[in-house]
């Protein structure tokens, strides 16, 4: 029999994450929404609560708790603030390539600071010419003595303006088929964040462009083997990137259901709460069905990842399902609220805006289907 229950310790992680989210993040949400900026106190609190340390091995200053614990934390934080969960998910995505592909020296140099939140991380793959098609990226590198020189621009980079450590994918100037990953640090000559985006949702997390103008990167910052950069980027995005989006989506689904239940039990129409109306009950039931199914998909994939199994396809399924369900759930929540759903005073209007950003992050639903189709058709292809 498969055990689908959380352990006592995992339940305690959920409690800890929920307490953190409700006491440290929730009070800052209005400010984040108003300013449309990252809140420094929230970032500091994330570090103090060891949220960046979850997946980092203990020998490098982390907690080594794995990906189910990470998913629990992301779901609970997203339930309160999708923007904060998104920021945290990308810190994790930025950390992962160093855990997986960093050499001993790089792990010792970067991971302890990243675990404490003293350094913040991100990954820079997407460019104007392609995100899901990373090979069409134009950012290039060339050898120059013991160093590498990087030139190009990256866009749609979450944490672009706050990250200290960035894993950058670039192609060989001489050979467009060869890609290499580098660790670029804030302050390196020729590297700077430029334009900051103003998104429709997830306003409290930062998205923007990174510019590399003859950026000189020393050889010791080469991540993994030269020419194997695509593997570095894809391994991180396929599991940790998609898995993180599942956490963001599940939290939003839960928040939409909670807000809808509260409203439907308070709002009186025809002399009784609208939760007595079957049409509203149907909507609530559908939201719950989607949340249950999404959790099963997401936590199963995370449990596989914790066992060291390949889980990128399972995460593609979970990412597709949960982000679609979150978008549907947010729309339903707004519908249940009627006119109140259009007012900023009610959280569902924020949920609706946030849900839009869930779709394209770490690959659109259409791209997830491409990946899933490739997976199911694989046995038939030669």
């Amino acid at each position: 029999m498969i055990d689908f229950t959380f352990t006592e310790e995992q339940e305690m992680f959920r409690k800890a994450a929920r307490e953190f989210a409700e006491t440290q993040v929730a009070p800052k949400v209005p400010e984040m929404e108003e300013a449309g900026k990252v809140n420094d106190e929230v970032v500091k609190a994330l570090g103090e609560a060891e949220m960046m340390a979850l997946t980092i091995p203990e020998e490098y200053g982390g907690l080594g708790l794995g990906y189910v614990a990470r998913l629990i934390a992301l779901e609970e934080i997203s339930r309160v603030s999708v923007a904060t969960a998104m920021m945290l998910q990308i810190f994790g995505l930025g950390i992962e390539p160093i855990i997986r592909f960093g050499n001993e020296e790089q792990k010792r140099r970067y991971l302890p600071g990243l675990a404490k939140g003293e350094r913040l991380a991100t990954v820079a793959v997407t460019e104007a010419t392609g995100g899901s098609d990373p090979k069409s990226g134009r950012t290039s590198y060339k050898r120059d003595g013991d160093d590498y020189i990087i030139n190009g621009r990256k866009c749609f980079i979450t944490n672009s303006h706050i990250a200290d450590t960035v894993t950058v994918l670039a192609k060989d100037e001489e050979d467009p088929e060869v890609f290499t990953a580098f660790i670029v640090e804030k302050g390196m000559e020729g590297f700077r964040p430029s334009h900051e985006e103003h998104k429709v949702g997830m306003r409290g997390c930062n998205t923007g462009e990174l510019v590399f103008e003859h950026c000189r990167v020393p050889r010791e910052n080469l991540l993994g083997e030269e020419g194997k950069g695509m593997r570095v980027a894809m391994a991180a995005i396929g599991e940790v990137g998609r898995g993180g989006m599942v956490g963001c989506a599940l939290g939003l689904q839960a928040a939409c259901l909670e807000a809808s239940l509260k409203f439907a039990n308070e709002r009186i129409l025809y002399g009784k709460p609208i939760s007595n109306l079957q049409t509203i009950q149907n909507k609530l039931a559908e939201m719950r069905i989607d949340l249950e199914a999404g959790r099963l998909l997401g936590y199963r994939a995370a449990a596989m990842q914790d066992r060291g199994m390949r889980s990128s396809n399972e995460f593609a399924v979970a990412k597709y399902f949960t982000t679609e369900a979150a978008q549907k759930g947010a729309k339903t929540a707004v519908d249940i609220h009627g006119g109140y759903g259009c007012l900023e005073e009610y959280p569902v209007s924020r949920y609706y805006r946030d849900s839009i950003v869930l779709g394209p992050s770490a690959g659109t639903s259409d791209i997830m289907k491409v990946i899933i189709a490739r997976w199911v058709l694989k046995p038939f292809r030669k």
Binding site: E9, M12, F13, A16, L54, A69
Partner: protein, 265 residues
Amino acid sequence: MLRIVVCVKAVPDPKEASKIRIDPVTRTLARCDVPLVINPLDKNAMEAALQLKEQLGARITVLSMGPPPAGNIVRECLALGADEGILLCDQAFGGADAYATAYTLAKGIEKIGSYDLVFCGMASSDSGTEWVGPEIATFLEMPVVTRVKEIVECDGEWWKVKASLEDGYRLVQVKLPALFTVTRGLNTPRTLSFSGIVKARDREIIQWGIDELGVAEESMGLKGSPTIVSKMTNRESKRKVEIIAGTREEKAERLIQKLADAGVI
């Protein structure tokens, strides 16, 4: 080093209060389906102990009485930073009122042996009598200060604390060992940390039953409880909406009158 005992109670999550029902037969709270959490004011008691540990150095023992699931809240206290966790758990302890609970906890504290301070939350969120703390102190023949809202001086044998009154506070000087019941205003309890949870992972939770405490069954649980609950009812609450008309002044006047008539002001 200070030796502190913190008494904690597992209560139904106050956030899920609407799900709590009264068992018509036993006239006690039907707790099933409602998750158990640390009594909110006991978290303040725990925080007070942790702050003293950080400030002066202390060994904190957490003591709870309850069924086996209450072990989870003891583990939570270990995760927060307690050094030792004890659960008083025995069928014979079931159905205890405040008096029998205090007696059992006092016996547990006696068995712990040496202690300088005992902290309790001022009241529990599920029964709210405020009796257990003072009763423990009575059984242990030690001074008690209820509703502590600030620890003013904490060096030497004599400590000075502020205790809340309805319209002010008392400044109390008390000789240790003593028992304090604490208010919400004393501090802001810290939240659980993931690393704390990991550290508490394999820690033992000591379980003591009637044999370990060496007490007579008649003085424990329902048998040892002098309180007889003759009736318990669910309070029905209904919303009533009334629109008050008139000018601003008239409306204010009528509102004040209505509130006065209802006995609210």
